[in-house]
Symmetry: C2
Subunit: 182 residues, 2 copies
Amino acid sequence: MSIRPHRGFTILLTGLAAAGKTTIASRLHQLLATEYGRSVTVLDGDVVREMLSSGLTFSRADRELNIRRIGYVAGEVIRHGGICIAAAIAPFRGARADAAARVRQFGRYYEIHVATPLAECERRDPKGLYRQARLGEVRNLPGIDAPYEVPEQSDLRIDTRLLGVEEETRQILQLAAGDGLL
Amino acid sequence: MSIRPHRGFTILLTGLAAAGKTTIASRLHQLLATEYGRSVTVLDGDVVREMLSSGLTFSRADRELNIRRIGYVAGEVIRHGGICIAAAIAPFRGARADAAARVRQFGRYYEIHVATPLAECERRDPKGLYRQARLGEVRNLPGIDAPYEVPEQSDLRIDTRLLGVEEETRQILQLAAGDGLL
């Protein structure tokens, strides 16, 4: 019979484009792999769009579908005792709830709101998305011409103006440690 | 650090519609879970189409994309020590090879050709697909009006006219056991 030393869990980092989700996801991945020796699946926006959701647009329906797929894969990862870190705008409350429900069939789900304000995201704008959206060259960008439904019951709210990535990841890992998952 | 008691692997069951892939996948799942205490992800055609590939058609490009997504998820499952059983027509050699390459980054990939002949598949026809294809109501059905590229180097070839499901699954599990994975 199986001896399973680890229980899996999922961390969803949700927030506006350029809020800092990928930076946090990368550091979490690194810490979990090297310090804790855990196996980690990172579902970052670009990977997901390439591997799972090529062909989907940025319409409401397709964004919801994108999050549903993330929830499905995250659930399967947890099923095997793995950790899934998903970094996605995930702007719709209902779709986040659906993904959470899927994940919770197999283990713990942490919703982290990377709540960097729009003005700061727009100032950073590393991919030029906001500039293009203001020019009308990009459409359906949450915060500009599409909604971002703020999480009402996130496990943690992080404003990346106020903390550095080390402190941010420490707070997130503390949640999992507090639940005996690390 | 991690103690990982299990190494994951993937079993792809490829073959014509109604060849018997799902029957084998279900029994494999049951045996691996109950007899071996292993955690298993089953990527059966219908689940995949619902959870990963809704919106895709049955064109060549979309079928290839479907298999690529299966390969991606299978790789992530193995990364965490899980077992992935994929049952899909997977008619294209190139797409199967791509999925295999992805999976092999993380562990062993077994390609099982469920080689029940077309005439027998058409006789069974549990979903009426062949009947509809002959009437022109369904298009792009491998073996009828779309290709099925026979695996040239499968790990095992099964003709479900000749064996029962118990013997079929025994032969498949023997492969994994022989590699020390069970």
